[in-house]
Subunit: 392 residues, 2 copies
Amino acid sequence: MLLLYRNGWPICVKRRIESIVVKCYYDYEQSFAHEKQTLEDIKQTDCAENGVNEMNNNSGNDKTMTIHDVARELGVSASTVSRAISGKGRIGAATRDRILAYIEEHGFYPNAAAQSLAQSRTNNIAIILPEVNTLVDMPFFHTCMYGVEEVAQANDYDIIVVTTNGNDTKPLERLIKNRKVDGMILTRTYENDKYVKFLKQKQIPFVAVGKFPDDDVVQVDHDNVGACKEMVTVLFAKGIQNIAYLGSNMDQMVNRCRYQGYEEAYRKGKRKLNQDLVYTDLSSRAMVEKAVEELKKSGVECILCQDDYICDEVVRKLARMGVRIPDQMKVASCHYSRILENYPVTITSLKFNITELGRRSCQVLLDMIHGKTVPDKTLLDYEIILKESTKG
Amino acid sequence: MLLLYRNGWPICVKRRIESIVVKCYYDYEQSFAHEKQTLEDIKQTDCAENGVNEMNNNSGNDKTMTIHDVARELGVSASTVSRAISGKGRIGAATRDRILAYIEEHGFYPNAAAQSLAQSRTNNIAIILPEVNTLVDMPFFHTCMYGVEEVAQANDYDIIVVTTNGNDTKPLERLIKNRKVDGMILTRTYENDKYVKFLKQKQIPFVAVGKFPDDDVVQVDHDNVGACKEMVTVLFAKGIQNIAYLGSNMDQMVNRCRYQGYEEAYRKGKRKLNQDLVYTDLSSRAMVEKAVEELKKSGVECILCQDDYICDEVVRKLARMGVRIPDQMKVASCHYSRILENYPVTITSLKFNITELGRRSCQVLLDMIHGKTVPDKTLLDYEIILKESTKG
DNA sequence: CTGAAAGCGCTTACAG
DNA sequence: CTGAAAGCGCTTACAG
């Protein structure tokens, strides 16, 4: 630790210039009362400035430096330092650079709470996660969160994560009324979403990940309808005559969209959709298995699965039945994840970039917060990955 | 919207009593300059108080109420309101209850930034997540995060999530120096952890999830050593003569612990550990498969897998080899997750409660933040789940 | 038990 | 281009 000497006494300059604190280096018992001095004194002591620099520099536990400290060191006012940091207001280039250099060198970070209070903005956004615990759902939200975090981080925002049961609005209310966040991202919305209503009423900037029926809600989603439509169209083009659809829960918007795309492809191809080939309420493994058995008997050529959770069960069931993919049954999934990587046969699927979904959601939210106009709906791209499972 | 009338004019009381703002209800064009009035005026207007109450009550977008607003409404000082809310300092029970009731009724929440600034505490903690994208790792961190969030939430703390590459300390540094968090939870630590070093130096309260070699780091973990030791001991007790061990990465502390438990059980049982039965560097599926083949030839009775990712591959490989579990080979895993649910045969495994791990970590951190003394190491319980895969 | 006042560390009109 | 001062909305000794 570098010491600062005055009149032969070791002293340590802390915090505010008005309170020079004498520290116990040696001769602890002696009185250092005479060391009290004013700003003027210090300014006239040529060694002082260097001393202070060094102190702030190498002490891991230095008491928080403030904007005033750097102002004093540099002989400017706090206002000027503030301007240099924020880039707002007129400031001389030379002054700015000098201040910025000092700040960089000494690792000064402004107190977030003080900034918040003065500017009524927190540089925090909340991301609302549902309580999920299935291996299919978890990766989606986790990956999405990563994307959000990445963009937030890059813009000097932090994300506050709150998990909810989809019903209790208290946690959101607290966050908003406490002014802890500038905006919110809802990662799952429901038909009649309480949170959406609440946030609209509070006039808080927020975006919904996924499709939402309400038009005045800013949403970011993959083009599930278009993707499924194209997937089915491609399969038709490959000469497949009929394609069955296996889905689980039509309450969730994403599932609706996928089924809708499937339907539209049939219409577009001017083919008749046989409702016997459609299952949209498979809520258990047993039901999936039964469906697969029925479909095999019906002689359908291809099974399109709403997601890879269902696809996983379909593939396993077919294996147990001794049905070879793709020779005896073709299979495709509307969603790719690593679950699909563990089969002997590779699976044709749609591929969505979930991280990108998170990134874009965050970007849109930040734009809203900063008062830019944003598109009501942002639709992200998809890939169709054709693999062995639909070959032939 | 309830209107407040004065002299026959509709007016709307906003925010601070000093700035009565006239709103455009009707007769918009007329000048309302004469409506400007002072605090005193309002106090003498008997209808005023009710008016204000109603306004704050039913307007979704009322400008933030402050402690002064409620103080004024109740005829007390801001200090008193603060005391009622915080519960600190002496305050009359009657006054307190009156204030609390008012606050409850009008949904007043104190501004978090102002509280932060005044008290130098944020009521935020950070949870540091590694960048992972495997189906095995993701659920762990996600589930752990849920646990942390649950306890944080219950204590009126919010969690700021930051994902890191394990190397760059800038994000942590920003969070700390900006004073955005009161403490941190590291969900994955490495042998020579940069973050740990950094946090120790900064003297920030933090806890490490999982075992960490350094003794002066507060850690919360499952008793992996004890659990594996007991698992192996139980298997021995069931009459199994030799047990192979399949693991992947000895860099991670958790894997070390599990292997250590395995070893200790051998020692405790006074059995000779044949190193041919031990694989601790299986970094690919091919290597696992080769190991399984070798072990089958060696005539070993049981395979203990470091985690269910390895177990998954073992089970599949055995199936492909036509080896029946448990008749021809017994299998157990040192970690249970839903991955293990999809087999025709149920798998014996250790079961750790990851959510609880998160909860406890958070609890310990909060205790540290609040200046309580906490145990250096908190070891959580485990369950041994005996299933078909080791029967007989 | 309660209130007036100073302070937390920034920002931002305002005046020069 | 720069500084002094007021303000953001709380908390907390201090005095009564």
